[in-house]
């Protein structure tokens, strides 16, 4: 996880695969943050979740928001963008971590009344996400296919 209020900074997280990147940004105070989590639920390994909360959606996402609030961001101004959660082809429940990663985020957002402004989820592609702290622009680089603004 990274949070910043330095306008010269661009936060980047690479190669998401079935992981999910979440970028949040408050345009008024120009505070932004990003998390790249790997798995949906910390119940898998509570000890590990204590050491590395950002590995899991349910333990990592709340810390991301709180860290931005500490820098002056306000929840009602936060612009939220999400990418990743790719899947293998014709995957069964054995391989659907991407889907469950996204479901965990939706559940958390629904409970806490958070809206998603932009998202690029699922499919078979590999994504890299960056967040420009000066402008709040979120860019996705898709391996072998080019760049898009989310």
């Amino acid at each position: 996880m990274k949070v910043s209020n330095d306008p010269d900074e661009v936060l980047v997280t690479y190669s998401l695969g079935s992981c999910i990147a979440l970028a949040v940004y408050d345009p008024v105070v120009k505070v932004g943050g990003m998390i790249h989590y790997m798995l949906p639920d910390s119940n898998l390994d509570k000890q590990k979740a204590k050491e590395r909360p950002f590995m899991f959606a349910n333990t990592g996402i709340p810390v991301l928001f709180k860290s931005c609030f500490k820098l002056g961001a306000k929840k009602n101004r936060m612009i939220v963008r999400v990418a990743g959660g790719s899947q293998l082809m014709d995957q069964s429940e054995f391989f659907n971590i991407g889907k469950r990663n996204y479901a965990a985020l939706r559940k958390l957002f629904w409970r806490n009344n958070v809206m998603i402004k932009g998202e690029d989820i699922g499919g078979n592609v590999n994504r890299t996400m960056s967040l420009n702290i000066k402008t709040g622009t979120v860019t996705l680089k898709i391996s072998g296919r080019g760049e898009v603004v989310l």
Partner: protein, 283 residues
Amino acid sequence: MIDMQNILKKIDKLPPFPAVYRKAMQLLQKPDTSVDALIQVIQYDQAITANVLRMCNSAYYGLQRKIHSLRDGLVVLGNNQLMEIVSGCTVVDFYQKKGHGYGLERGDLWKSAISSALISQIICKLIGVAETPTIFTATLLHDLGKMVLNDFVWEENEKIVQLVEEGGYSFEEAEQNVLGMDHAEVGAMIAEQWSFPEDIIRAIRLHHSPEKAPEDDVITPIVYLSDIATIMLGIGVGSDGLSYRGKEKVMKRFGLKEKDLERVMVDFYEAYNNVQRILSMDE
């Protein structure tokens, strides 16, 4: 169609990953470096491992049995020849290439090789199969073909990606369609050309179609799962993305559940951090 036979003839030596090469050279320059210390560093490099296996299994040594791993190879070669192999490697290729056809940097392939090798060890523990050096080597080397195609496949890549996007092909099916063979087959052909052991050649060849391996072959399905988990983590993934087939039969064969794959990923994270510490790499 690209002339694969001709390309394969040109594949002579593979360049190691610069971070491994630098670290190994540092160790080789110290007079008191032990072979164990050197192995600790180079065991994670698919190019050095491949070059060692190639040399040990060559007709020159005329061994009765095949060499399956770096450590076994070193018994045959001795320290001096190992040093020759490592110091004779070149990393020039890394910087001369303008880019790569499969959208992969060499570092990506290295990361993916070592990640899947580490994951294979975790999976072995989980399913109660002995962690053999052969499984480690086969997993480390399974994408040899990608290393090669990444450097030679350019305009064909677009056609491959198009088939994946529009035709519902998996990446290796699209490769077969466009190139006449997939990266698994290319890797197996190199491994054959270099006289690797049969079980390693088979695992490389069938790492996306483990159902074609004989029932008593445990290596190929482990290589498959290790590769799939690595791909799902987005490691070493280029224009192929996650366009591979998830085969639940392999999971069922080992009695694995969906949560087990998550468990593997958690454990992998620690193992990978340890390797990065050994090589003192950034990122």
